[in-house]
Structure formats: structure tokens, C-alpha cells
């Protein structure tokens, strides 16, 4: 049996080899540049990065935008996943297509669509003025709120699909059993349904946060150069400043954040899985 498993595991060798050559090797070479100086090994670039107040502001903004994006995506995705889990036949197809099809649309196209929605004489301002909520157009373009909404829109499928996968396998008899014992809908949700679906929430949040913390095109198109993120700093370092050690250092910081999120979410998912 074990010999058979070993042989099957060999099927992963091409993928591992591919990843090693096109992902791990360049990454190692890139990270090496962050600690290389003509004099040898040095952490000077890291010290300089963390000592710069501007870099810390960018780091904090990047984390805040990623967290808000994840939160907004979660609020939209959670009920959507339940609706999808109950859908059958044509409706399920509609839901899945609605989730997957926007992923094939370029971010640039979406950014221009958002500008139509968010601009001073755009659809959203028009609607708010029409219903009398505001007297004059609100500034929506180039705001952090617009960025969070735009990013949540792009990353929503990465939140919905993991939650949907867990909700679909949810044993519906458990909330029903709680109801038969007199539990209120609110109690059933917070004490039965939510704990059982938390592994999906953790996985979706980890996906969304990791993608949001490293996004580049969306912030550069929606909020421009005045609100930089870590990814924009990396691009600036390599392309405009031609400062490879700085770019590599920021890349390593960004990678560290992503790895931390993945490790923490895996640990959390295991704990929640064990508890449920």
C-alpha cells in the first residue's frame, strides 16, 4: 500500500520541479539581494526600511486596506455562500458563473467601470442625489473606501468559494436538532452554524488577505501614487529607483506577511477543524 502511495506521489514531481525552477529559485535569488552588500552579509537594508517613518506608514496602510478588504468580502461572501449551497440546477449554475466569470475580466477594465460608478457625475452620486441623501456630489474617486470596495469586488470569489465548499458539506440536521431543543435562530447561528463553517471562513480570509496585501494594479489604478502600498514601493524601487536591494527587502517583508497569514490560518483551521 505504502509503495503504491509513494509511486502516486511521484506524479507531483513535475509540478514540484516546475515550482522549484520558476518560483523558488528566483525568489531565493531575489531575497539574497536583500542581505548582500559588497562587504558581505548585512541586514542594513532591513534596518533602514523599518527605521523610515514613511515606509511604516505604507506598511500600516497596506495591512489596513487588506484587512478592510477581507472584512468587506467576508460580509458579502458569507450569506452568498449559504444561498449558493441551497441553490440547485440552473440557479447553482448562475451563481457559479457569476462568481467565476468576473475573474476573467481584466482589472484595468474593472477600474474604468468603477470610475464610471464613483466619479462626481457618476451613477452612484446621481442615485444618492436623486434619493435626497446628499445635496452635492461626494468625492469617491481616489479614496481608500473606493479602493476597499474595488479590491473586495476583485477578490470576492476567493472568499465565497472556500466558504461555499464548507457550507455545502454542513450537516443540516445539526441546526435542526438545536431547533428541536428550543434554540432560537440567533443562538443556532452563533453556536452551531458559525463554528461549523469557520474553517471555510479562515481559508477564504487567508486567501483574500494574502491577495489584498500584495495587490499592485488595483491601488495604482484606483487611488494613484499618493496612497502607496508595499507592492507599489517594490515596483518603484525596481523600475524607477533601480534600487534592487531596497526592492528585494520590501519583497521579503511582503512575503513574510503572506507566509505569516498562511501559517496562522493553517494553525487556526486545524484547531477549528479539531474542535468541530
Amino acid at each position: 500500500m505504502s509503495a503504491r502511495i509513494d509511486r502516486i506521489s511521484l506524479l507531483a514531481v513535475p509540478a514540484l520541479g516546475f515550482l522549484a525552477v520558476v518560483y523558488a529559485l528566483p525568489l531565493v535569488l531575489l531575497l539574497a539581494k536583500s542581505v548582500q552588500t559588497p562587504e558581505g552579509f548585512s541586514l542594513a537594508e532591513y534596518r533602514a526600511f523599518f527605521a523610515d517613518e514613511y515606509n511604516m506608514r505604507v506598511l500600516w496602510r497596506t495591512l489596513r486596506v487588506a484587512a478592510l478588504t477581507t472584512l468587506l468580502a467576508l460580509v458579502i461572501a458569507y450569506p452568498t455562500a449559504f444561498a449558493m449551497s441551497r441553490a440547485r440546477g440552473g440557479w447553482l449554475t448562475v451563481f457559479l458563473v457569476a462568481m467565476v466569470l468576473p475573474m476573467s475580466l481584466g482589472v484595468v477594465v474593472k477600474a474604468f467601470a468603477w470610475s464610471i460608478l464613483f466619479r462626481a457625475n457618476g451613477a452612484l452620486n446621481g442615485a444618492l442625489q436623486w434619493i435626497g441623501l446628499i445635496d452635492r456630489p461626494m468625492r469617491m474617486m481616489f479614496t481608500e473606501a473606493a479602493l476597499v470596495v474595488g479590491a473586495a469586488n476583485v477578490f470576492l470569489p476567493f472568499m465565497v468559494l472556500p466558504i461555499y465548499a464548507v457550507v455545502r458539506q454542513l450537516d443540516q440536521r445539526l441546526p435542526e436538532a438545536a431547533a428541536s431543543l428550543g434554540a432560537t435562530p440567533m443562538f443556532r447561528f452563533f453556536n452551531v452554524t458559525l463554528p461549523l463553517t469557520l474553517p471555510g471562513v479562515v481559508a477564504g480570509s487567508a486567501f483574500t488577505f494574502s491577495l489584498a496585501v500584495s495587490m499592485y494594479v488595483i491601488p495604482s489604478l484606483i487611488v494613484g501614487e499618493r496612497q502607496q502600498t508595499l507592492s507599489m514601493l517594490i515596483a518603484r524601487s525596481f523600475l524607477y529607483l533601480r534600487n534592487e536591494p531596497l526592492g528585494s527587502t520590501i519583497s521579503a517583508v511582503l512575503l513574510g506577511i503572506a507566509v505569516l497569514v498562511v501559517v496562522l490560518s493553517s494553525w487556526l483551521a486545524r484547531r477549528l477543524g479539531a474542535r468541530t
Binding site: S115, V223, G224, E225, R226, Q227, Q228
Partner: protein, 350 residues
């Protein structure tokens, strides 16, 4: 009934066939490119319209070249050239003068010679740089673009600082060459000195730029998006834009125009160069020769509202009368640009 030979498909033959197929796959592009008429040209993304409409069909007809152009920013083109220095894939690059200086310093260019590119002898004297390391092929002028639905003109660069335009202004990042125009004009307005001296008054420039912050909606590094906002009326003023972009849009009926404020305008330095060791060297030289020839010079200058570099060509843009046209000390820019970009980004950050 045909029986499959037991020797038909062995593990060894499968591996051998796969190896040949893989080798063929990797080798094919190089083999094809070696004998193709393909030229990969790096250029500005904002040049896409006239590159597609004018240059691509002309080059196919005149020199038989199939043009693949990569539209991006000058600094990105420089990075592509530097990253592929040992095995370049770009043959010709069209980018701005300050970046050309960096490319020369990094030993990325081959000089353009009159033997290979006879039309370079017809250029204005100031259009050939560093003994032919690059040439200017056209020269748009840069001023302040504005939306004609909200402004009747821009008589002075001070309009960018006018409180009436709070939240209505976008300026280019210093990552873009056109970002330098706002910096230099801030230096002139801040120091009160003539351009020849003010261009070195960088402290005064940054102090004046700081005063611009309340009026700024954004700072751009992707010009097309900022221009789109100008066209939509989301902003009123777009600083440092150039004739090759604004005037064709105006001609199409879009409510935009380009102002030449009284303090002066700038000459946008559009250069063309040969990449050192680039593929299809002879074809690349023929491409540059055509770009500097009368037919292309006239067509591009007309289409992109630019001043031709070829002295035999009389068509093209009309330079506004009565205002100074400035061309800065690009060597000074190239030497300081990195520091300015960092300082600018921190100053303008929200």
C-alpha cells in the same frame, strides 16, 4: 485487424520523443526569430495610437519589417534593456532623453551612424545626442491640459495653485518624465528666477510643490487614466501634458485643450536609439532611418501634433507664439532623479 507492436510505445521511446519535442519547443522561437523580419520596439504607451496607425503599416511596406511594439514607460523600457543586457530582445527603443543618458551610462546602446541611418544627417543639430547615441525624432510641446467645459484657458501655471481649483488638479509623478515640468515650473514660481537658473533651485521647487497639495486630487504614473478623468470632467487641470496627446483628442471633439501659459512651455524630449546587440541589427537601423525620414516625420508630426526633427519637413505642430520653450539640463535630471522621486513620493503622500 492491426496489432500494436510491443515495441511501439516503450517508456524509453516516450521519454526520447518528449525530450525532442521539449527541445524543439524551446528552440523554435530562437530559430524562427533568427530568420524573421520581426522587430520588437519599446516605446511609450501613449504612442500606441500613432504607432499602430502609421508606423506599423509603413514599416511593413517600406522595409518589410513586422513590428511588435511594447508600449510602456521610458524607465520600464530601461529596466527591460538592463535586465536583458546579455541577450536583448528589443531592437529599437523610443524613450525620453533623461533615460537615454542612463542607458548610455549602463552601456546599453549602439551609436546611430550616418552610414547605416543616412536620414540622421537631415536632423536639427540639437536632435542628435552624445555623438549619435540617440536622436530626437519628434518633439511635442508640453503645457497644462484643461477641460474646456470648466475652464476657458490657463493663462498662468499659478492656476494649478489657485484655491478655486482645490481638488481639481492632477500632476504626473516624477517617475514620468513629464513630471519634471511641474517641478521646474514650481522652481521658477518659487524662486522667482529665470528658467536657466531656476531649474537648479530644487529646494524652492519642493517648497512650492508642497503648497500644491490641497489642490491635488491625485498624482499619476499612468497618464491615460489621468487623462480619462480630465475628459470626464472629474478634474479641470492636468499638469505637464503634451501636444501629441491632448491635441489629437481635441481634434476628435473631446472637450479638452492644451494651454501654453505665459511663464513658458517645455519641449518633450522624444528620442530613438538602437539597442546594443539587439536582434536584426540591419533591419533595426533601417527602421530608425525610416523614422527619421521625411515621410514618417511628416506623418507622425501631423498625427501627434509634434515638431518634426527632420529639417526638410515643414508639416507638423505649430508651436504657440509668445512663450518661451524650455529644455532642461537632462544630465542634472539624470543625476538627481532617484532622490527627487523618493522625496516627491514622501512629500505628496496622503
Amino acid at each position: 485487424m492491426t496489432r500494436i507492436s510491443p515495441r511501439g510505445l516503450t517508456r524509453r521511446s516516450l521519454l526520447k520523443t518528449s525530450a525532442f519535442a521539449a527541445a524543439g519547443t524551446f528552440a523554435a522561437p530562437a530559430l524562427l526569430r533568427a530568420q524573421s523580419s520581426e522587430l520588437v520596439i519599446g516605446c511609450a504607451g501613449s504612442h500606441s495610437a500613432w504607432m499602430e496607425a502609421i508606423v506599423v503599416p509603413h514599416m511593413k511596406e517600406a522595409i518589410g519589417a513586422d513590428i511588435l511594439f511594447e508600449g510602456t514607460k521610458s524607465s520600464v523600457n530601461l529596466e527591460k534593456m538592463a535586465s536583458n543586457k546579455d541577450n536583448p530582445y528589443l531592437s529599437v527603443v523610443q524613450m525620453d532623453d533623461p533615460v537615454m543618458i542612463q542607458a548610455v551610462d549602463a552601456d546599453l546602446l549602439t551609436p546611430i551612424t550616418a552610414d547605416a541611418v543616412p536620414n540622421m544627417t537631415q536632423l536639427r543639430g540639437d536632435a542628435v545626442h552624445m555623438e549619435g547615441m540617440w536622436c530626437n525624432y519628434v518633439q511635442p510641446w508640453a503645457g497644462v491640459a484643461y477641460n474646456t467645459d470648466f475652464a476657458e484657458g490657463v493663462p498662468s501655471w499659478e492656476a494649478l495653485w489657485d484655491p478655486a481649483n482645490a481638488g481639481q488638479v492632477i500632476i504626473p509623478s516624477l517617475q514620468n518624465t513629464e513630471g519634471m515640468w511641474t517641478l521646474f515650473m514650481a522652481a521658477m514660481l518659487g524662486s522667482g528666477k529665470p528658467f536657466s537658473e531656476a531649474q537648479y533651485e530644487i529646494e524652492a521647487a519642493f517648497a512650492k510643490l508642497e503648497e500644491l497639495k490641497p489642490n491635488l486630487l491625485s498624482v499619476y504614473s499612468t497618464m491615460s487614466q489621468a487623462f480619462n478623468l480630465l475628459e470626464q470632467g472629474e478634474i479641470t487641470l492636468l499638469s505637464g501634458n503634451f501636444s501629441s496627446y491632448t491635441l489629437p483628442r481635441k481634434a476628435e471633439g473631446v472637450p479638452v485643450d492644451l494651454a501654453a501659459p505665459k511663464e513658458g512651455i517645455f519641449a518633450m524630449p522624444s528620442g530613438i536609439c538602437l539597442v546594443k546587440g539587439g536582434p536584426n541589427a540591419e533591419l533595426a537601423a533601417a527602421y530608425v532611418n525610416e523614422m527619421l525620414g521625411e515621410k514618417m516625420q511628416a506623418a507622425i508630426a501631423d498625427f501627434a501634433a509634434s515638431v518634426p526633427a527632420n529639417t526638410t519637413v515643414k508639416a507638423g505642430a505649430v508651436i504657440p507664439d509668445g512663450v518661451e520653450i524650455y529644455s532642461p539640463d537632462w544630465a542634472f535630471v539624470a543625476a538627481n532623479r532617484r532622490d527627487w522621486i523618493e522625496r516627491f513620493d514622501k512629500l505628496m503622500a496622503l
